[in-house]
């Protein structure tokens, strides 16, 4: 039974960079609670920018993004940090702190709930137990005390997933999470991601450029071409014709 409850509403989102590049030219769509939404598109289509606008890592030029009732455009300071605790993010280059241990990286997800103790890295025992539990569900219980740089790429990304899950977020953004991994590790990581989002009932928005993965894991797919939504539908609707349009749009060459 699918809930048609809208978690994120994006309306006419536009983003231009200083220097003139228009990355997003008026994007509008909804994200439903509990679904795994995949955003596909060629490199440079604006997938990364779109995700980064949702948690404010990129400032919105115009338009609106409403996350569970909160408008992101114009959010600053403490309110922005509060929003970010509800939005988890994993990155293409993992972005975990290599010098710290796996468990410390996972615990980083709770930093917003600590003040000075977070600066010193002193977390509650409850949180430590929770971190271990999540890491174990991602099959990392043997690496818990190891330094993060001793792990493989796929394992590092799973640590990043654990960090995001520790935030107890409403939505998890995954910006090209498997672009740096080989196919074997990629499907493993996507599998873990899918599974844990279902178990924790977390809405997920994943940007990918691999069509196969999109088809396998998505509840819905949004296709982005040069900053504009050119496809919206289920995986079954993503036929060859649609793919042609998304990726092989040769008309506008500069």
């Amino acid at each position: 039974m699918k809930q048609k409850d809208v978690l994120i509403k994006i309306s006419d989102l536009k983003k231009s960079f200083p220097g003139g590049t228009e990355a997003l030219k008026g994007v509008s769509f909804d994200v439903y609670r509990g679904e795994l939404l995949v955003i596909v598109g060629a490199s440079g289509a604006g997938k990364s920018t779109l995700l980064r606008c949702i948690n404010g890592l990129s400032a919105i030029s115009s338009g609106s993004i409403v996350v569970d009732g909160i408008e992101v455009n114009g959010l600053k300071g403490k309110k922005l940090r509060q929003l970010r605790t509800d939005v988890g993010m994993i990155f293409q280059s993992f972005n975990i702190v290599n010098r710290k241990r796996v468990i410390d990286n996972a615990l980083h997800g709770r930093l917003a709930y600590y003040g000075l103790r977070g600066v010193l890295g002193l977390y509650s025992f409850e949180d430590k137990k929770k971190a271990f539990e999540i890491l174990a569900r991602l099959d990392l219980e043997k690496q818990v005390a190891k330094r993060a740089d001793q792990l493989s790429g796929g394992q590092k990304q799973r640590v990043a997933i654990a960090r995001a899950i520790m935030q107890e977020p409403k939505v998890l953004l995954a910006d090209e999470p498997v672009a740096s991994l080989d196919p074997g590790a990629s499907s493993k990581v996507l599998g873990y991601l899918h599974k844990i989002c279902q178990e924790e009932d977390i809405t997920a928005i994943v940007s990918l450029h691999q069509i196969d993965y999109a088809r396998n894991y998505a509840d819905r797919i949004i296709g982005l071409t040069e900053g504009v939504v050119t496809f919206e539908g289920g995986p079954e609707d993503l036929d060859d014709e649609a793919i042609q349009e998304l990726y092989f749009n040769e008309e506008e060459e500069e």
């Binding site: 948690n55 890592l57 940090r81 509060q82 929003l83 970010r84 605790t85 939005v87 988890g88 993010m89 990155f91 280059s93 993992f94 972005n95 975990i96 702190v97 290599n98 010098r99 710290k100 980083h108 997800g109 930093l111 917003a112 600590y114 003040g115 977070g118 600066v119 010193l120 890295g121 990043a160 960090r163 995001a164 935030q167």
Partner: protein, 272 residues
């Protein structure tokens, strides 16, 4: 076919030319500079020639053997040199942590502040420690107090720059990830920035301590405490053999400290 070869040879010659030209230019520049300096300073080889036997006699008659029985005289000054170098290093490190952070263009968005920070480091660095010591002796009097501050200031200049350079080279992705988690600026600093900064931090800080020993030994020559002071006194009183003993102490201290800091640094870097 011949024309082709001709063309290729010509191109080869051409490609050598700018490099060779530059080298030639550099050599000419250096020769001109040397001639200019030679004339300006009245550098004369005959003077050196005359000086060599004098140096030789001086060393044989006046400098050696060192007065080993005066070794105790230099114990306290040596310890004082150590204290000065240590305290100077600690204060330089603390000061430079702040200075380095505000001088890092990836941590501070206000370019004016970064510019200011870099400027302060440059200024502190450009004035040699001995010059600082001269000023400070005029202000707070003779003794190690002036010397310690002088060393700290010069040290902060160097560390401020190197800390900032290291901080600018960290992986900003890790910083972004923690921002995305909702961490505060301070939390991001300690949990994402500093862990990456630690190896360079220790390397440069230990190096600074080594340099401080040298500085501390020398600022005494202007009255700012330490071995330099005793050395200066000995020389003024024409007690050259004692002075040699003092130099041996300086040498020994530098060697010992270098050894200890090298070992400590290796150990710490291993553990990181």
């Amino acid at each position: 076919m011949d024309r082709n070869m001709e063309n290729n040879l010509a191109q080869l010659k051409k490609s050598r030319r700018p490099g060779q030209l530059r080298l030639l230019f550099a050599i000419i520049l250096v020769i001109v500079a040397v001639i200019w300096s030679w004339a300006g300073t009245g550098f004369s080889i005959p003077a050196i020639m005359r000086g060599v036997p004098r140096i030789y006699n001086f060393i044989i008659d006046d400098l050696i053997p060192p007065r080993f029985d005066s070794w105790q005289k230099f114990l306290n000054p040596t310890l004082q040199t150590l204290y000065m170098a240590y305290v100077g290093a600690i204060f330089a490190i603390i000061l430079s942590l702040g200075l380095g952070i505000i001088s890092a263009n990836n941590l501070i968005s206000n370019r004016l502040i970064v510019y200011l920070g870099r400027g302060i480091s440059s200024f502190l660095r450009a004035v040699p420690a001995v010059a600082w010591a001269v000023i400070l002796v005029a202000a707070v009097g003779l003794g190690p107090f002036a010397g310690t501050i002088a060393i700290a200031l010069g040290g902060a200049g160097m560390l401020g720059k190197t800390y900032a350079d290291s901080l600018e080279e960290i992986d900003m992705g890790q910083v972004e990830a923690l921002k995305a988690v909702g961490a505060s600026w301070f939390q991001v600093l300690t949990q994402a920035v500093l862990p990456q900064f630690l190896p360079d931090f220790f390397t440069w800080s230990f190096y600074r301590f080594d340099l401080n020993i040298r500085s501390a030994a020398v600022v005494g020559l202007v009255g700012a405490g330490g071995l330099g002071f005793s050395l200066d006194t000995a020389i003024r009183l024409f007690q050259f053999r004692e002075a040699t003993m003092g130099i041996l102490w300086i040498f020994g201290l530098i060697l010992i400290v270098e050894f200890i800091t090298a070992k400590s640094r290796d150990k710490i870097l291993e553990g990181l």
